[in-house]
Amino acid sequence: MSVAQVMNPIEPFLRMDRMPHIWCPGCGIGTTVNSFTRALIDSKVELDRVSIVSGIGCTGRVAGYLKLDSFHTTHGRAIPFATGLKLANPSLHVVVYSGDGDLFAIGGNHFIHAARRNVDLKVICVNNLIYAMTGGQTAPTTPEDAITSTAPYGVYEPSFNLPALAEAAGAAYVARWTTFHVRQLARSMSEIFNKKGFCFIEVLSPCPTLYQRRNKMGDGLEAMKFYKDHSKIRNGAPTSEVGLTREGEIVVGKFVDRDRPEYRDMMRHHLSEALGPRYQEACEAL
């Protein structure tokens, strides 16, 4: 078999008629998609039952490239769209795949409430520490002292610690990896397909064009070296201790994996108790 005939194993999962994609050289979003397709294979999930919901931004484009039922929604609102989709058809595996600005600035309210309810959603946040698509503005995740287009003298607001936020709000599963940790990331992504409830994975991902460059942190390869040198795997680490700084340690691993009653289970249980056979008959009629 010649090289030209070898198909990349992730091709069946992509809309190849949409290639080339819009992501920059050195960007990590494609790497996360690679890990995600690996998770689709490993988890043996039924592909026709997987829906991808994205918001707006560079990561928001993931929905458009994955050859699955895929929804490119409005800015910050992927989670409530996904909530409606999941509740209307509980047999779906609904994955929200979006960026840090989308999920935690404009969409922050929806994130905490979906985690509180413990809706059975899988939320993957590609965190590049910046608003990339609009040109590198400060995000709620941008570390202090980093330079951005809207903080030309450095950021002075504190940033969110996303795993701590997710755990406090009620997520059943919380993990963080970087795009250096492709296998661990794929394993976590595979795990959440078999975990009921609100699952959250943060993936640190380089933006060479708009974050690395302004902060003199080199290209995509330099970012991999940075992740390799600064990451420390600490599964089960208290999320209060995993906040990110500009140059400091990056604690990665699976931090939370707990059982909490899932939203729809709670609804069914509660309404069954309150209404008895009248509710059960209506459910069966559906």
Binding site: D17, R18, S51, G76, P80, G84, K86, N89, L286
Partner: protein, 385 residues
């Protein structure tokens, strides 16, 4: 097809417009609602929350109106008929997803029980001042359908029509109530399910290999696929082609925007619902909608008692605006009188549609109460003097 009897509360009821609106949604097949509390609309979802568990479906109270207005869209793509309910300030927040629903051709219903504005305005008092917002509130060029009931009975009847239009044209439909219609209690007759016509979703009959999610039928409306059925389709709020893929060019924009507008404009005749009486030889025609039409009726009666020849034209469909009918009235009447609970939103449309053929007299009211019938009666008298 006929309504699913599970959702039809057949019988004679004494209920308010908000409750009747909810029963209309259930009869139309709505099995999903998301909402956020806001006066004077909340009773609609309160009733839905109480009724839906034994009908079979889901209600979720969301964290805000931004969430509620897109949760219903997710539910639609998951296979449900869905709606949300709000009032002015919440309607402002929902504009984002009215545009998104128009762009992605997601059939759904937005109920706005209008109260006085701008901003927080008059939470418990009526207005009809969101009529232009219903038409133009989201950014970009799009057409919309808006219906306007004037009684609890019509809250039930027209709500079914709203869902049917939404499904037929794959578009969000605005259901423009007002505080008085929402809170007035009257007799509402709910017929047996087999007497209620319900429009099913336009689902594709093609195989996944043949299916193009935004390829229109002859009436410019594409057939839909639900998530989870093997179509592996893409949809986006970006300008897109028939495959649903983003295309960032002027020709793609032109083709899509004109089709989205065309599918509703071409159907304007079918969409125009109205009540008309004694207009053929009328000297003046009173054009009204919603609660104001009930007050206007008294003014019309007063004018007729004085021997004046007054016609009545009540809009049930406000958008698309029934231009052809207004033009027809303008050609025969000496005056068109337009009372409404705002400072002239629909009067301006009447003026535009009549093209100068008849003078238009707005009878404005900033909201907070309904007109006094005498105010409309005087406007009729002055217009015919």
């Amino acid at each position: 097809m006929h309504a699913d009897p599970q959702g039809v509360l057949t019988g004679v009821h004494f209920i308010d417009g908000d409750h009747a609106c909810c029963e209309g949604a259930l009869a139309a097949g709505a099995r999903f609602a998301a909402g956020y509390p806001i006066t004077p609309s909340t009773e609609v979802v309160e009733r839905f929350a109480s009724r839906i568990p034994t009908v079979g479906g889901t209600f979720i109270q969301m964290e805000d109106e931004l969430a509620a207005s897109i949760t219903i869209l997710g539910a639609v793509w998951g296979g449900a008929k869905a709606f949300t309910v709000t009032s002015g300030p919440g309607f402002s927040l929902m504009m984002e997803h009215i545009g998104y629903a128009a762009m992605t051709e997601t059939p759904c219903v937005f109920v706005d029980v209008q109260r006085g504005g701008p901003s927080t305005g008059l939470p418990t008092l009526p207005a009809q001042a969101d009529m232009m917002q219903a038409r133009w509130g989201s950014h970009g060029d799009y057409e919309i359908i808006a219906l306007c009931p004037n009684s609890p009975q019509e809250c039930f009847d027209l709500m079914i029509q709203a869902f049917n239009f939404a499904e037929e044209y794959r578009t969000p439909v605005m259901f423009m109530m007002d505080e008085v219609v929402g809170h007035m209690t009257e007799k509402v007759v709910i017929p047996p399910a087999e007497q209620i016509e319900v429009t099913p979703r336009r689902l594709t009959t093609r195989t996944p290999a043949e299916y193009r999610p935004f390829e229109p039928d002859e009436d410019l409306v594409p057939a839909m696929a639900h998530a989870g059925h093997g179509y592996r389709f893409h949809m986006t709020g970006l300008t897109h082609d028939e495959r649903g893929y983003p295309v960032m060019t002027a020709p793609a924009q032109d083709k899509l925007v004109r089709r989205l507008q065309g599918k509703i404009r071409n159907a304007a005749d079918r969409l125009a619902l109205f009540e008309e009486e004694a207009t053929a030889d009328a000297d003046a025609v009173v054009i009204s909608y919603g609660i104001t039409s009930r007050v206007a009726q008294r003014a019309i009666d007063m004018a007729r008692a004085e021997g004046l020849k007054i016609g009545k034209f009540r809009l049930k469909t406000v958008w698309p605006f029934p231009d052809a009918h207004i033009r027809r009235l303008a050609r025969t009447a000496r005056a068109l009188i337009v009372p409404e609970l705002n400072c002239g939103q629909i009067a301006r449309e009447v003026e535009r549609a009549s093209g100068g053929a008849a003078p238009v007299t707005p009878v404005t009211h900033a909201g907070g109460a309904v007109h006094r019938p005498e105010q409309i009666f005087q406007a009729i008298q002055e217009a015919l003097r």
